[in-house]
Each structure stands twice: as structure tokens, then as C-alpha cells.
């Protein structure tokens, strides 16, 4: 079979509430499919080895490092990325608090931090400081020393994010 004849299987999944479909090598990393095929570049690559958490997304509601997920394992799943946190242009609480409290400097760790915070608060709506630190321990930051990120999580405790159901219309596109 020549390169031109290779047919990649179709991966079908929901991303930020929208049905998406991509025809890619099944072992392509979910991270790369999100960034390249779906042009959702909010999810970052910091290490490519599941150590830094910059690539964190929710896969069927579970926090994962998307650099370690072959896209075939996301077939028929629901993925939430940072682009899916805001709803109808309104920032989610964790985003608002990161903004107000200075929780982002270069911003590379920030999407992953917010997904990790979202996962933590869904499982544990009233985490103490130790639980917050543990919940974010898989997300490395070099700019902030973590202080203001932890503060932002603390301050978003009272009003947790509700799930995004309907994405804004202009992000609904079909994969090639």
C-alpha cells in the first residue's frame, strides 16, 4: 500500500460538547489531534512524558495527560479542554479567579492547572489546602511559585463550574 492509499480510521468523539470526527493514525497523541487537527491550541505540550501536566484535559470527566493518550482510546469519548471552560463568553470561576489574583504569568501551565482544578472541585467541592496542593501536584509551574494559583482555586470553591453542554456555534467544525 502506498502512502497515498493509506486510510486512517475515523475517530469520533465529543470535544467541548461538539461532535468531532478526525481521520488520523490511531496512535497519534490526543494532544496533537486537539492542537493540530482540531486547532484547539489551548492545551499545551510541556514535556511529552506525562510529568508536567500542561497537556491536561478531561476525558470522560477524568483528568488525564493528553500526551499519553493515543487518540484511538478517545474514540466515543467526551473531551473537555480549556476552550470549553468558558460558557457563552463568560469565564468560568477558576478562570476569573486566576485572572483577578494573578495566577498566570507566562500562561503555559494555566490551561492544565485549570483543568486540574476543575477535576478537583468536581470530586471534592470543599478541598482544604493540602487537598488543593495534592490536586495540582501533577502540574508544574516555573513562573508563579504556585501561590496565586492555589489562592485562585481556594477562591473558586464557593461557586464551582457547571458543565458546558452547548458550545458556541463558531467552534463547531468537522475534522478533515
Amino acid at each position: 500500500m502506498s502512502a497515498a492509499e493509506i486510510q486512517f480510521p475515523e475517530i469520533q468523539f465529543k470535544v467541548n460538547g461538539a461532535e468531532r470526527s478526525v481521520s488520523v493514525p490511531p496512535m497519534k497523541r490526543l494532544l496533537d489531534v486537539l492542537r493540530e487537527d482540531l486547532e484547539l491550541t489551548g492545551t499545551k505540550e510541556g514535556c511529552g512524558e506525562g510529568e508536567c501536566g500542561s497537556c491536561s484535559v478531561l476525558l470522560d470527566g477524568v483528568l488525564v495527560n493528553s500526551c499519553l493518550v493515543p487518540v484511538l482510546q478517545a474514540n466515543d469519548s467526551e473531551v473537555l479542554t480549556v476552550e470549553g471552560l468558558a460558557h457563552n463568553g463568560a469565564l468560568a470561576n477558576i478562570q476569573q479567579k486566576i485572572l483577578e489574583l494573578g495566577g498566570a504569568q507566562c500562561g503555559i501551565c494555566t490551561p492544565g492547572m485549570m483543568l486540574a482544578a476543575e477535576f478537583l472541585l468536581r470530586k471534592n467541592p470543599q478541598p482544604d489546602l493540602d487537598a488543593i496542593r495534592e490536586g495540582l501536584a501533577g502540574n508544574l509551574c516555573r513562573c508563579t511559585g504556585y501561590m496565586r494559583i492555589i489562592d485562585a482555586v481556594k477562591h473558586s470553591i464557593q461557586t464551582p463550574l457547571s458543565a458546558v453542554v452547548h458550545p458556541p456555534e463558531d467552534t463547531v467544525r468537522k475534522g478533515a
Binding site: C47, E134, T144, G145, Y146, I149
Partner: protein, 175 residues
Amino acid sequence: MTWSIGARSTPAFAWAVYVPEVAVDTRTYTAGVVNFYALQEVGRVLHPVLAAGQIEGGVAQGIGFALYEKVVWKDGHMSNNQMANYIVPTTVDMSDIEVYFEEMPCEHGPYGAKGLGELPHDGPAPAILNAIQDATGVSFTSIPLLPEDIHLRMAQAQVPESDVLETVGSAETAE
């Protein structure tokens, strides 16, 4: 105080004091920062949130420099060039960092501001080593200071073992 630039490399000097509280576990020879206090004289604070954030982040890098971020060289190459084996502090390694400012405006800086972001890389590591010396009675003069290094020196100095020693050390840094 009069200010003149003359032939200096910088128009103004900024000042800082860094005070870490350190705990040394003498069963595992691991040192960790338990609290950190940073005071910086920056001329003028232009953006309080970002200014404090810069110091907090710089202190975190200083802590990493002091206790975690050893570069392992082999034949001129860095062997530990992955995030799995180049060790930076995580949220459960970092303590709170309290930041305080003093302002003595410098006429040569914008609105009186001076430099801010470099100092946090200079002071914390020596301060942490001072604190470890205060805790253990053993003096260390190189960084990163890993448990393996602490063990070697303490075994040589034959410090009596107890579970945890806590103390405070400090350093003043001028630039």
C-alpha cells in the same frame, strides 16, 4: 541620598532580605522549606499583583536551585534533561511565600521603579543553606544541596540524629 549613574552598569541598586524556615529530616537527610518571607526594596511598585508574583516565582526557582535542581553532566551532555529527572518543586514541595515591599524611589527609574525580577534568584539559595547550617551545625557551601550531599557531610561531622530539626536562617542581598 543623591543618585548618580556614572560608569556603573545599573542606574540603581535594589535591596532584599530573604528569610526561609527550613526543616531537615535527619533520618532521610532531606531539607525542605517550611515557610518563606521575602522583603524587597524596589523603588516603586508599579503593579502589585505582578510584582509580588515575580518575587514568588523567583523564590520558587531559588528554592529549586538550592535543594532540587541538580544538573547531571556526562561527557559534556546533560543526562537528566527530562522533566521526570530534572527535579523542579511541585505544589506539595513549595511552602507559602510572604512578600513585602519597601519603596525608596530612584530618580533614574520609571516612576521611581528599580529592578525586581533578578534578586529572587540570588538570595534564597544562600539563605536556605544558612538555615540548614543553623539547623544541623554543619556548613554547606555548594548548591544544589541534595540529601546525598547533606548525608555525606553530616556523616563526616557525626551529627547526632534526631527526627527533625527546624530552624530559621536569613540572608541580606544587595545588588
